[in-house]
Symmetry: C2
């Protein structure tokens, strides 16, 4: 057995225990974990200091993601407490019926088993992912970026101590400490041990996992969100939504990156939309038709239309009609979130029906695509694939179903 | 663009049309397909004769799967008519709510998009898979075994003619005619075009697809089903179930392959169970403890416990208790279907809770794991993985969800 297989075996054994816990047992463990994180603050900060010292050469954005503070540690603890308060999806009955032979068939929610998470610089993922996987009755194998190795180890030590104190198997939460690519690849090939692998991080990481993994993967977090301004759009509705979707938090996947404007209202509305964006420091790029209206837009290139900027940049394209907008979006989006601004109900409904994305909005900001905003309480990521989970993934999306069938001697004819 | 990418592009375009069809449009096309198959009987049989002529050297079982008869063609047509009569899962609303900001959030069932099916000798998969994918609003790309190439072409020609006659895009159903491994690999890597790939066939095919594919795969059809005879089992219930699960159709994945008997009743019940199986021509193999009770059992080797025989063979093991049975099953099963025979409600429930398989039975034959038996009307396969679909996959499992969110200008704070 390789080291990863041994880890997988321990996770599998722990998952069988965790799957059978009561909600109270899981909640108690989550609360103990929160206490342990707060109590371990000094140790965690010291480990984080060591990580930060080695990461001095990295870009400021990266260092910011890596950095822990007393506040950020408290936020992690609060996150664990929040998840303790969420509804437990496990053992719920989705539906049940009796078949022609008199068999009682119950479709029941059960944990997935072992969840693998591969992530990058943010050490808080360690606590967040643990909270969601444990509450949904799963064991988790975490592999963080090597720059956060010491921080992650310190956090996992707190979480495991809380598990032990709760009388639960500490292998319900394991951290891959070997940072080599060979071991990462072994993890992605851990068929029979890992039931689902969720990469959390940039495009490069997600692409590598999709390419390499032979265990089932859920693709999350790639965004190239569009807003389409219909010919009946009210500028007073459109402008705040466009600005909010672009600037409220430009680094995240549900931020809008592209603006499509119907040619009938482009002359009237585009100058105001561009001015509103520029007021917030956005660089606006445009296709030829957009530049014919606002001449000083930065020319957009072909590459722009498929780029997730994660920055204060937005590209504008003038389109002939709803059909062109929908076709364009279905070709260029990452199927995450798109919005139409319209007063016309028929076109709003057509847009929602025909745009092939996880979340399709009428007259609202794409920034609402989020587990908390949806009311799920928390999320492990936003799925942009169609299998198993689509859109914000909460606790329910970390479960699967099982059929429990009860008879009194039925045989098949 | 490669040939497969072009095919994928055509499928994607067709899928966008098919996704928007009304139930009546889809049903009309399915009925026209049934008519076309019956009208094309002579052509299909001639194509099948040519395939059979080339397959003379193959094993009899293989040739039987490949062979079409007027009856089998009529069965395919009836299958299309049956699916036309099933409930359409598309556009159904799973749930809807209003969030804190006043956004109306609707979770709606939508088609997956493009489904890929890779299968082996049975040409009837062509019609069956088309029926289910079309009714659920998807386009399908089919790749059958090379031995059935001419039969599949003849069937697809009928299905496409019916699509054209219905005014629908014929690319909603496409057959990969190039039988090379290179093209099969291209199909498994068709990210952005194929939303899910479902292999239908033997273990080798499924393993190869899981190993090679970078598009999402649903693993189906691997069975190594167990029946556990509890210490409180009633032999009058146990014997008919064991015999039914083993012999009613031994070649399929929901047939029982292994029998675990509690040591407390082994001496009393095992001789009768073995005798009942032998009456139906079953070769019974046993571990040491089983052979100590029935001395002339064929000795079971380690390999037996992980083997799906698909034949009139069953291996018996005597276990100490329920715990050993559950642990054994969780280690050796393919997580398909398992059954306990018991009069004890507590142990029955524990078995259903702790056995980690798609379908867990109390006092009934594992042969019921089937879309029709469950009441789904039809099935595309039985999923043995935990993501997206588990157990029999009907029409609903060929859909995903989309969130349609409607506001009146909401922005995120």
């Amino acid at each position: 057995m390789t080291m990863m297989e041994e880890m997988g075996q321990r996770a599998k054994e722990a998952s069988q225990v965790v799957a059978q816990l009561t909600t109270k047992q899981k909640n108690d463990a989550l609360l103990k974990m929160a206490t342990a994180l707060r109590a371990g603050q000094a140790t965690i900060l010291a480990a984080n200091e060591a990580d930060l010292a080695s990461a001095k050469e990295m870009p400021a954005k990266f260092v910011d993601r890596l950095r822990l503070t007393p506040q950020r540690i408290d936020d992690m603890a609060t996150g664990l407490e929040t998840v303790a308060n969420l509804d437990d999806p496990v053992a719920k009955i989705d539906r049940g019926w009796v078949n022609y032979a008199g068999l009682e068939i119950i479709q029941r929610r059960v944990p997935l088993g072992v969840v693998g998470i591969i992530f990058e610089a943010r050490p808080n993922v360690t606590a967040d992912a643990t909270a969601l996987t444990l509450k949904s009755g799963n064991a988790v194998i975490l592999r963080g970026g090597k720059e956060a190795a010491r921080s992650n180890q310190a956090i996992v030590a707190c979480l495991q101590a809380a598990l032990t104190e709760s009388g639960l198997p500490k292998d319900a939460v394991q951290l891959v400490e070997d940072q080599s690519h060979v071991v990462a690849t072994e993890m992605m090939h851990l068929t029979g041990y890992i039931d689902v692998l969720i990469p959390r991080g940039g495009k490069g990481l997600i692409a590598r996992v999709l390419e390499t993994a032979t265990v089932p993967v859920i693709e999350t977090g790639a965004g190239n969100c569009h807003i389409y301004i219909d010919q009946s759009a009210d500028l007073a509705v459109a402008a705040p939504i466009v600005v909010n979707a672009k600037v409220q938090r430009p680094s995240v996947c549900n931020a809008a990156e592209k603006l499509l404007v119907n040619q009938a209202v482009a002359e009237e509305q585009l100058p105001s939309l561009v001015a509103a964006l520029r007021e917030h420091g956005v660089e606006v790029r445009g296709d030829e038709r957009a530049r014919a209206i606002v001449s000083d837009l930065v020319p957009a290139t072909d590459a722009d239309w498929d780029t997730e900027y994660n920055d204060l940049i937005m590209a504008v394209k003038v389109v002939d009609d709803l059909d062109e907008a929908i076709q364009w979006i279905n070709q260029h989006s990452t199927h995450h979130s798109e919005a139409i601004i319209t007063k016309d109900m028929e076109r709003g409904r057509a847009f929602q029906q025909r745009v092939d994305s996880a979340c399709v909005y009428v007259n609202a900001s794409t920034r609402f695509t989020d587990g908390s905003e949806f009311g799920f309480g928390a999320e492990i990521g936003i799925s942009t694939q169609k299998l198993h989970a689509r859109g914000p993934m909460g606790l329910a999306q970390l479960t699967t179903i099982k059929y429990q069938i009860t008879g009194d001697g039925q045989i098949r004819q």
